[in-house]
Symmetry: C2
DNA sequence: CTTAAACATTGACAAATGTTAAAAAATCAT
DNA sequence: ATGATTTTTTAACATTTGTCAATGTTTAAG
């Protein structure tokens, strides 16, 4: 049930079995179904989630009432609403399962506790922040310099799972365009 | 000459005077003039820079030969090409002074050394990564859900320095649009 | 001060994307 | 399986943004 996370940790950091046991004991398994909401707008984000299987997205709803997907986490990735989690203030975003799957959750208190007692956890946190930042920077790049078609092709190259496994609706609002535009784009291949 | 960084550190982390002295001794002052290149495309980024005065941008050049500005650091902000710096591999981006100013540089080796010997430096690094991630996430939001006019207004609200102090050319390519579009946008106010 | 270079604005037109509506296709719950 | 719901595609049209070219303005070097 936590084997996947254990394997991920083993590959990512040099932890002793004791470290691993402490870390794994902090995570709680949750089975989620597609469309389940893990965090609502205006709630404080109290967990970091590790995706064992399936996928989770972070999205918000803009003034016009449209959904906009900011990030999608697949297997072996962490997701949270970092700003809300760090400061324990209300989130502007939602967290939602985009597929049926298993996730592991660690609470804010346990997370803080691990930072305090396990140096290796701090190192993992730094590594994950670096990855998250870099991923975001690439995504930003794609918006600054590419048009919709180019962003679609780039997504297909760098993260085809988004296109292969999720609905056009979500793919479109992850790319920052309408479903209709996406539909046309795919025709223009 | 390093007073500004010292003050910034004092406000950001709880460091002893000894910690501060060690940290400050790693930074080297550089005077930069507008348009000076601090890092070229295809070079390995060997420093993290702290902006004491002026501003520094990270930008890249796309296939069509257009510049696209991904990030701009002003006073009391750090800037580097994180990916290149962490992995000590070639950068796809440039670093350039966008105003005359003073910056403080810390080398990769000293940075690593501080991470190793000063717990407080690790904490500062985490804090800066969190800030960088959050800032990026907001910027991403603006691209996903807003059109150019809205992005401009949002930028004016959240970081007017960009508009007030830098050329239209840079503002435009920071917003992901052409100079001409920006010019029209400003008229439509 | 003068001139060349860089930057900013404007207009005409083209291309990309959004909007609205409808129909076709896929999915889901019974 | 069947009907209802959701998702995807298509089309016509509106709006936004890009491209190109010309002109005005500012900046910087000599």
């Amino acid at each position: 049930m936590t084997e996947q996370l254990e394997q991920f940790l083993t590959l990512t950091i040099k932890a002793t079995q004791q470290d691993l046991d402490i870390i794994l004991s902090c995570f709680k398994l949750e089975m989620v179904k597609k469309n389940d909401i893990l965090l609502n707008d205006n709630e404080t984000c109290k967990h970091v989630f590790f995706v064992s299987s399936g996928s989770i997205r972070a999205f918000f709803i803009d003034e016009k009432g449209n959904e906009a997907t900011r990030y999608i986490a697949f297997e072996n990735e962490f997701i949270t609403i970092l700003n809300s989690f760090i400061t324990q203030t209300k989130s502007k975003e939602f967290l939602q399962a985009t597929e049926n799957g298993q996730i592991l959750a660690i609470s804010y208190d346990d997370f803080r506790q691990l930072l305090y007692i396990l140096p290796i956890w701090k190192d993992l946190y730094i590594k994950q922040l670096e990855i998250a930042y870099t991923t975001n920077a690439w995504r930003l790049e794609s918006f600054i310099k590419m048009d919709a078609k180019e962003r679609f092709d780039y997504l297909f190259e760098t993260n085809p799972r988004v296109i292969q496994r999720l609905s056009n609706k979500i793919v479109a609002n992850y790319l920052g365009i309408t479903q209709e535009s996406l539909s046309r784009l795919k025709g223009k291949k």
